[in-house]
Subunit: 337 residues, 2 copies
Amino acid sequence: MGLHVAVAGATGAVGREFLALLEQRAFPVGRLRLMASARSVGQRLSFGGEAIAVEELARASFAGVDVAFFSAGSAQKEEARRAAREGALVIDNSSAFRMDPDVPLVIPEVNAHTLRPGQRLIANPNCTTILLLMVLAPLERRVRLRRVVVSTYQAVSGTGASALAELDAQIEAERAGRPLTAQVYPKVIHANAIPFVSGFGPDGLTQEEWKVVKESRRILERPDLALSATCVRVPVRRAHSESVNLEFDRPVTPGEVRAWLAEAPGVRVWDDPARMAFPTPRDADGGDDVLVGRIRPDPGRPGAIDLWLTGDQLRKGAALNAVQIAEHVLVGARRPA
Amino acid sequence: MGLHVAVAGATGAVGREFLALLEQRAFPVGRLRLMASARSVGQRLSFGGEAIAVEELARASFAGVDVAFFSAGSAQKEEARRAAREGALVIDNSSAFRMDPDVPLVIPEVNAHTLRPGQRLIANPNCTTILLLMVLAPLERRVRLRRVVVSTYQAVSGTGASALAELDAQIEAERAGRPLTAQVYPKVIHANAIPFVSGFGPDGLTQEEWKVVKESRRILERPDLALSATCVRVPVRRAHSESVNLEFDRPVTPGEVRAWLAEAPGVRVWDDPARMAFPTPRDADGGDDVLVGRIRPDPGRPGAIDLWLTGDQLRKGAALNAVQIAEHVLVGARRPA
């Protein structure tokens, strides 16, 4: 009596997070199918006490599939389209459809109103964008944002299992006194900070920086929003963090920001200097909420605000957001997180 | 025929950097004395092939000392004043005198003009401030800065040897499957990012954030400068990095910024997306220059600029800047770096 669910890209970091989430949230799975590229065929992954064999995505039929979670990368764009044509509700975690005006780009807490009945293909935003907008959208609803400047501290698991292995190998090489080598990243990531996330795009910005700018504008429906992002990889295993400077159309106080965020679903304010309360990525690792702290006045611009946020980019930044979209579409309302 | 030189706080991270620099730069040391707190007395440190015994700072006489480099912390404020009274040129690396209008606060490349003949006490700025202003000052000279937003990625050695030991112990504990504990920092620093550097000050900013704001305004002689800083500790051993957004009084292009910084002493531009050239803290570790890259237009604000800088905070951010001040005062001109 449950749903027929497919996870495409099941063997990747986000794919595995989908399996964990579907179990943890008691998603009504009747039948689960796992799909990946040909070289993963034959692997078995555990779900609900059962070992499920991985099918080859290119040969899999989506007939009868109720919902398909795609985290197979932009290269699998045609497979996602095919799955939708074959009748599945497809939620795609790649960047392939995010700027397609025919495909809604959705964070359920922010813009669930853009979901239309009968829509078969929905795009999941970039992880850094989701975490940022979970905090910006509740503020924008109160006072219009004038300008946003973001610098990120992005976790290695955002790149995938190969990057985590590279970090671990570098730690081990250092310990053994061997030279540190890098293949996944252009520089050694252990004990370093790399101001480069994915390839370079136009104007010397990276693709990641453009994603944050363009997706934020689209989701907030503010094509003019003044937003700058500097995306930096740091040797953190899991959870992205962001340092954010905000200007609004009128002066805003830290107390207002705390009060507005306290009411925002999926956001938790951890902010009390007197008690040394502020969130770090280790606090967000494995959790569902975006944690916010260091909310304070910008000393250089009266009425502007600085803050710090951190969230698990594999959960709310990826798989959790996609599952929430499915819940919203299939059961008609967002479940409590 | 050399100078009589004292290093107070000789056993700390910055103190040891002073010894290395005095050797590397062939500073004209005739006699070197090392001073520290009582519990370090009896230690011997090597300089120029000689083992020099550490004296107790509180009992040391500065009679006859030509130059004394203090990195003994703000608690040693009175000892620094005494050394100056006893005739030494004192260059103090603590925050004790930085906002004292009678004490110049100097980065030689930026504001050597504030050094006055006969001045016996000179303050060395905060490390994050020095690295930032090495880049901002050459730009401010061309076009007045309107607003600066900085987020930092600060190395563990900025806290000292105990913090480096804590990071190493956490890495080892993780490897051994033991729980990770923190004493030096309020949270585990390994595989984390801590948005808190030194204690909290007024308004929810940290002391480090206020230092960057106030010292930058003083050194640039721009008491009104709109500057926001978010200071974050990352698991990098050495070299602080900063993500910087800049607005100017007129629109500025990335090409102008590159050209102006190419002429700035002590600054090196590493910036070529086509060749994947951008600097990381590992590139700056142990070097004298501040490295700058990722110079690009702010996509949200025409004419504004984003950039990334990194520099060794124990060298240019501390000991090197102090030695350069001494060179400037004693030989009347800054040496080439």
